[in-house]
Subunit: 132 residues, 3 copies
Amino acid sequence: MLTVALSTDARRMVLDVTGQIEAAVAASRVRDGIALVFCPHTTAAVVVNEMDGRLEQDLLAWAAKAVPEGAGWRHDTVEANAHAHLQGISMNQSATLPVVGGRLALGRWQHVLFVELDGPRQRELWVQVVGR
Amino acid sequence: MLTVALSTDARRMVLDVTGQIEAAVAASRVRDGIALVFCPHTTAAVVVNEMDGRLEQDLLAWAAKAVPEGAGWRHDTVEANAHAHLQGISMNQSATLPVVGGRLALGRWQHVLFVELDGPRQRELWVQVVGR
Amino acid sequence: MLTVALSTDARRMVLDVTGQIEAAVAASRVRDGIALVFCPHTTAAVVVNEMDGRLEQDLLAWAAKAVPEGAGWRHDTVEANAHAHLQGISMNQSATLPVVGGRLALGRWQHVLFVELDGPRQRELWVQVVGR
């Protein structure tokens, strides 16, 4: 398994990590199989979608409205980030992607996006590739 | 990897693709493993749930309410479909399914559903099966 | 493929199934690969997140608000649980997890959680592990 180290510098932000995931897939030497992009964190998400700065702002705005911060969540009495946990759950927290010919196979408009919901923090993605 | 070609004939609709996925799994000749059903599109989704026409209308109605079209999304200045991107993210955009005895293993009420959120379009699903 | 049997004793509840999934991964004898935790049900979900009793109450409260019960859903004319189907879709209905050194690899705060949305019922999770 390979680790991709990430550093986020804002409370909420989206990072395009496609290049790092492609490098991890190449390093695995698997030619034909699937790559699991696993987020080991509970207040972040992994989304596969278009990389357009405006869409990423929309994604964060939608999450903030769908799960508002400080809306009386019980977990906030432990740590005031229940909204970040629930926002992550409402997206996806990992992605499983095809590997073909030794390369990540993505659709024309798809990028692999890391969504920080409770930063800034040092983060990681774990990439596990299986196949031949 | 196998490709399933789909054609949607409405702006928003749900297609039951279980049969096509089962055929792709059989063609892979994998007896025991997992099948990734990957959607290479950014304004569609793959959901595994009951196939009942009324439930599918409910799913589209819920998505339209959870992420309303034209609600001031920034991405709409590029292409007026931000809601379709975000609706897809709020569901799932791929599914990973068990393969047992050379066949897709699904629960009694489960079907594999392709959810078109910005059609009509020519679409594809990519099916990658790993195992023995 | 291994089956984990679960029994829920409330209409809506969250069960921490991390120990059962770890046992299934150990039984698979796979040292390096990925584990699919597949929910064969259409009104339940699998979520990977922190196990804190309060956060789990928040998750159920958020789901009930995001997809209200009895809100005129068409599927309710068949069986009055459309909200449970849609709540499951808005979370995740399966999880794909890394297996390293023969053990499930999870982040520090991550647990595997089964979310019952239409209980009480006898439930199952299917665990399929691929790799070497």
